[in-house]
């Protein structure tokens, strides 16, 4: 079986006035129709990894890789146009905050219809029908009404569901979720995760779940990839998280609060320069 996504030695660098800044320094993994979590602190390169797979890094970024394949398609070799068409249709991405990631002057319905009509030759009526059923699939109770609303008129949870609907309406095979619940209230987080979980399961998609929340990722994903300073420091199945060998992962796990245990002083992460080397 060929993997859905193969990444070998991915590097993302940004030229700056004082030299190059290396955001991602050699990330390799392969992904089947499974859930891979990427965790790491801010600036560890997890988001840049996701953007590089989408082909959406900032335009001054230099993306290099030994291999970046989606199925049998070499993403680095195909023309930009073909890569563009694959976005939304084969690989989609959910962003962090629906407050900023939905176009404020377009109704939610139109934004979802737009994804559909970019990738499929269908009429208005059919696009509308499919949008409404997609809104229903993300458990929006009143799809007809939400269809006509503007992003500022809905709550964060509703906005993120609309975002999920917008990105999944063309049934992509791979979804990159970049901190999809970090901007939401805790109670809403769980609802949105449940919806995401259900849709990814039903449709047999591959998922890359980027988060800084180790516990969330380990409960939601099959495998976890821990990043530190642009490098992968550890990759292991979620179930085996306790057996982590890298001191950074251990440090992260140690910081998780435990119910009933009174810890004073709170443990802090200890960062060794040689991990980043």
């Amino acid at each position: 079986m060929t993997a859905l996504l193969t990444v070998k030695n991915l590097r993302v660098t940004y030229p700056t006035r004082t030299g190059v800044s290396e955001a991602v320094r050699g990330v390799s993994f392969s992904l089947g129709r499974e859930r891979l979590g990427i965790v790491g602190e801010s600036g560890s390169g997890k988001s840049q990894t996701g953007r590089a797979i989408m082909g959406l890094t900032a335009r001054n970024a230099i993306v290099e890789t030994d291999m970046l394949k989606f199925g049998d398609i070499d993403l680095m070799r195909i023309p930009a146009r073909q890569r563009r068409i694959m976005r939304g249709k084969s690989i989609a991405m959910i962003l962090q905050d629906p407050k900023y990631s939905l176009n404020p002057v377009m109704t939610i319905g139109r934004q979802i219809v737009e994804t559909l009509r970019t990738h499929e030759r269908i009429g208005n009526r059919e696009a509308r029908q499919r949008t409404l059923s997609m809104l229903e699939a993300v458990q929006i109770r009143d799809p007809e009404r939400v269809f006509t609303l503007y992003p500022h008129e809905v709550s964060g949870g509703m906005g993120q569901r609309a975002m999920i609907a917008m990105m999944l309406v063309c049934s992509p095979e791979l979804l990159i979720a970049d901190e999809p619940t970090s901007a939401l209230d805790v109670t809403v987080q769980l609802e949105v995760l449940k919806i995401l979980d259900k849709l990814v399961g039903e449709r047999g998609m591959g998922l890359i779940f980027i988060s800084h929340d180790l516990r969330l990722v380990s409960s939601f994903c099959d495998r976890v990839l821990v990043m530190y300073a642009g490098k992968m420091v550890e990759e292991l199945p979620s179930a085996n998280l306790k057996n982590a060998t890298h001191p950074y992962t251990k440090g992260l796990l140690n910081c998780l609060p435990q119910i009933g245990v009174h810890r004073h002083p709170l443990p802090v992460l200890d960062r060794q320069p040689e991990w980043a080397a």
Binding site: R87, G88, E114, T118
Partner: protein, 353 residues
């Protein structure tokens, strides 16, 4: 399906009501602002050191005559009564007689304003029609050679004196190349035979199907219009560039890319549609600025517009004409501002309530 219809009807009703409320608010604001404007012009009319009575009777009239005229003109009434009379006259369009032209001021303005309106409209159409695409392109290819060229064109536009550019353009495009016509609104041959309807010659000529006159008016408005257009282009393109840069850095642009939209659609539809919201104000203000009458351009091109009229009146201490002109300009400013606010509301759903 039934439920669907009621929801959409209700949504339509809600929106219609919202529009009605904002139109009502618009009218209230219009009236109060206009009252304020009249109060200011009235006040100006009282404090300027020009005695309107002396302006009529001359400085050699015996004091009994001066006193009689003063009484007749109502200057002995209490101030509030004078203001009410002034209000009534202003509302009915009676701004008095111009000392300089001996016509009622409203008639003079009725002739001068359409000339300015036509010129300003052509200028704004050129300025926005070219300036907005220029700004968009400069933002998309920022720091590239295209951006630099747009920047230089813009900088040139607002740093070079417009009268110099006007004279130069007359020299090149009229005297040398003969692409444009000489100063004035029409050729002398048409000037006395053409009967304007609205005073906008392009519109009038097209309306009555006099295409040779239309062509002639076009050749006359081309240079001053292009010049004013260039002037507003300089401003509009810079503002468009910065609004577009701001929009292109937003998250929803990344989301639009992640959906697989084409670059053209992202730029010209998503980003520009959002940038259009603040741009409306910029274009409207630039239009209002041109409607004040551009004295320099009107002078260079002998354009019988409002700027020229008010400047002439001012130089001749023709207070009725100056105040009448000021009121008209103020009214235009208020109108355009309110119109752009309304447009703003239709463009940005977040400002509708």
């Amino acid at each position: 399906m039934k439920g669907t219809e009621t929801t959409s009807v209700r949504a339509g009703y809600r929106r219609a009501r919202g529009i009605m409320v904002s139109v009502a608010r618009f009218l209230v604001v219009l009236v109060t602002t206009f009252l304020g404007l009249l109060a200011v012009t009235f006040f100006i009319g009282r404090v300027v050191p020009i005695d309107p009575v002396l302006a009529i009777v001359g400085d050699r009239a015996p004091s009994s005559v001066v006193e009689r005229i003063r009484e007749e003109m109502g200057f002995n009434l209490p101030l509030w009564q004078q203001f009410l009379i002034y209000l009534k006259q202003a509302v009915t369009g009676d701004f008095g007689i111009s000392v300089l032209t001996t016509h009622p001021v409203i008639e003079d303005i009725g002739r001068a304003f359409p000339a300015t309106l036509e010129l300003a409209t052509v200028g704004t159409l050129i300025g926005a029609g070219i300036g907005i695409p220029f700004g968009v392109i400069a933002a998309v290819w920022r720091d590239s050679i295209v951006d630099q060229i747009v920047r230089i064109i813009g900088l040139f536009g607002y740093s070079v004196p417009i009268f110099w550019l006007g004279l130069l353009s007359l020299l090149v495009f009229y005297a040398q190349l003969k692409w444009a016509a000489y100063p004035g609104r029409l050729d002398i041959a048409y000037e006395y035979t053409f009967v304007p309807i609205t005073g906008l010659y392009l519109v009038d000529a097209a309306w009555t199907g006099q295409w040779s006159i239309f062509w002639d008016a076009w050749r006359h408005i081309l240079l001053p219009g292009a010049l004013l257009g260039y002037f507003s282009l300089a401003y509009i393109s810079r503002m468009t560039r910065s609004f577009m840069l701001n929009e292109l850095n937003q998250e929803y642009i990344i989301a639009a890319r992640a959906k697989g939209l084409s670059e053209a659609r992202i730029i010209w539809f998503h980003a520009l549609r959002n940038a259009a919201v603040p741009l409306v104000t910029v274009v409207a203000l630039s239009y209002a600025g041109l409607l004040e009458g551009s004295v320099l351009t009107e002078t260079v091109f002998s354009w019988p517009g409002l700027g020229l009229y008010i400047t002439n009146s001012l130089q001749n201490a023709d207070m009725n004409a100056v105040l009448g002109g000021t009121i008209v300009i103020g009214a235009v400013f208020i109108g355009i501002n309110l119109f752009s606010d309304l447009l703003y509301k239709t463009l940005d759903p977040r400002t509708r309530n």
